[in-house]
């Protein structure tokens, strides 16, 4: 594998870019591994990477039923931030953001991490009070937050409609360290890093069964044969219920569709990530120039990876209400990601009641920014059987016990409320 550097890019460029070699092997499955990770998406690949890098565990296979990074890491809106308020979530996303900040030199891979800043708008005095409280919580955690007045915002974001009759803009919370990253590159960078440390990345390998004897996991059945494993990790947000069912488990997960949209490429006009919570709408501009924006769930259980028209209409209305200039742009594509929705809107990184079977799921809409932190903490749990401190509250049993729920929106721990 070639190490990337300015010199290497120049040298390969001068020779017509013809002598680049593949950056990971297309491995075939072996008969047994120390750890089998089910799911070759962002979280599975980062788990494999940190298992190898932090814990020296390299006899690891990542099993992916399709191609690497072909699931939700290819179907999101690429936003990276750490603006959570509740204990449990806030330390986890804070840790994840710190990992993002060192990710490119760590992976020797350009994930196009761009800390362009995220602005969350508010529209009333009451919301300003709530925003100040959230910003203080972010600062207390050691992350950055600044309160912007309407006058500040008018200089930074002159294109917003500040005088909307229903939601006049009073100001916003700015987190300068928030931003975006190139989603595919994150998967590729972790894949390359894991492979170079000896992890087998096995594509077109669908898990069809989980072998359990006397409450202990023994391995998995796959479309490419049986594979024995001392530990099995389920990291398949979007399909968690199906894979967990192979181990006889029912999860506190309902799968929902979340739509996103991108316009044709335009010259730079939106320099930040802007969140319009009241309209369930947020937007940023990709490096290719497309305006990438999204809304809320369609709000019915779905695995269709595409949504229906009512939510599309709602998102377009919110876009027009917030930034009338967007009416001149043409929408190029829309797509849907399949969200593992948990009752309290927060994820799970935990052991299961089956020895050697571990679970990472329930990322709701927060999965992309969590990729580094999730892999780091899940690898720690897999390697040591102890919860990693920043993710120690992501327990599977919190719903049954009612202890340690992380209901960030304050709406209640119930399936149809997040």
């Amino acid at each position: 594998m070639t190490r990337f550097s300015a010199w290497e890019v120049l040298k390969k460029g001068l020779s017509g870019n013809t002598d680049w070699t593949p950056h990971w092997r297309d491995a075939d499955p072996r008969a047994s591994y120390d750890v089998v990770i089910i799911g070759g998406g962002g979280h599975g690949l980062s788990t494999a990477y940190y298992l190898a890098k932090n814990h020296g565990i390299t006899n690891v296979a990542v099993l992916e039923k399709g191609y690497l990074g072909g699931g939700n890491i290819g179907r999101n809106t690429t936003i990276v931030r750490a603006n959570y308020m509740l204990p449990g979530n806030s330390e986890f996303y804070s840790h994840s953001l710190k990992l993002w900040e060192g990710l490119e030199p760590d992976l020797n891979f350009n994930v196009m991490h761009s800390q362009r800043g995220q602005i969350a708008l508010f529209h009333s005095d009451g919301q300003r009070d709530a925003a100040v409280r959230r910003a203080n919580a972010m600062i207390n955690r050691g992350d950055d937050a600044e309160m912007l007045s309407q006058a500040d915002l008018r200089k930074m974001l002159p294109y917003l409609n500040y005088d909307n009759a229903r939601f006049p803009i009073y100001g916003g919370i700015l987190q300068r360290r928030a931003g975006t990253a190139r989603h595919d590159a994150v998967a590729w960078g972790y894949a390359r890093g894991a492979d170079s440390r000896g992890v087998d990345l096995i594509q077109n390998c669908e898990v069809t069964g989980i072998d359990i004897e006397n409450g202990v996991v023994r391995g998995v059945q796959t479309s490419r044969g049986a594979i024995r494993a001392k530990k099995v990790a389920i990291v398949v947000a979007g399909r968690s219920s199906q894979v967990a069912a192979m181990a006889g488990m029912r999860l506190p997960i309902e799968s929902h569709i979340l739509q996103a949209f991108v316009t044709e490429g335009l010259k730079p006009c939106i320099d930040h990530v802007v969140s319009f919570g009241m309209g369930h709408y947020y937007i940023s501009q990709s490096d290719k120039g497309g305006l990438v924006f999204g809304g809320n769930l369609d709000y019915y259980a779905s695995y269709a990876a595409r949504g229906n028209l009512p939510m599309k209409e709602h998102v377009m209305e919110a876009a027009m209400a917030l930034m009338p200039m967007i009416g001149k742009a043409k929408v190029l594509r829309s797509w849907g990601g399949i969200m593992d929705m948990s009752p309290d809107g927060s994820p799970v990184i935990d052991k299961t009641h089956i020895d050697g079977l571990y679970l990472n799921c329930g990322w709701c809409y927060g999965g992309f920014k969590a990729v580094p932190g999730s892999g780091y903490s899940f690898a720690h749990l897999l390697a040591t059987d102890k919860h990693h401190e920043p993710a120690a509250k992501f327990r599977l049993d919190r719903f049954q016990s009612g202890y340690g729920l992380m209901d960030e929106e304050g709406t209640g721990s119930q399936h149809n409320l997040h």
């Binding site: 399909r239 219920s241 199906q242 029912r250 999860l251 506190p252 997960i253 309902e254 799968s255 709000y299 019915y300 259980a301 779905s302 695995y303 269709a304 229906n308 009512p310 009752p343 719903f399 049954q400 119930q414 399936h415 149809n416």
Partner: protein, 93 residues
Amino acid sequence: MRIPCPECGSRDQREFVYQGAAIALDRPQVDDDDAAWDAYLHLRDNPAGETRDLWYHEAGCGRWLVVRRNTLTHEVLGAELALAHPKAKGASA
């Protein structure tokens, strides 16, 4: 997506409010154990394929419906009044 309401006929999805899996009709008894309540409140089959879920016809007849749908295709396969569900007998309309 259109839902065939038994009272009102085929109506636009926007007239309905989604509540969730039809497991909500199988409420445990008050003195059932934690596991039964956890299964009812939190755990879901969450099928990729045919499912049964509850929708409320807010902008129509005000009835609760059990809708059969395919979660992979968004095809709506049928709907019946939730009152027709055996566990719902005796509930108020």
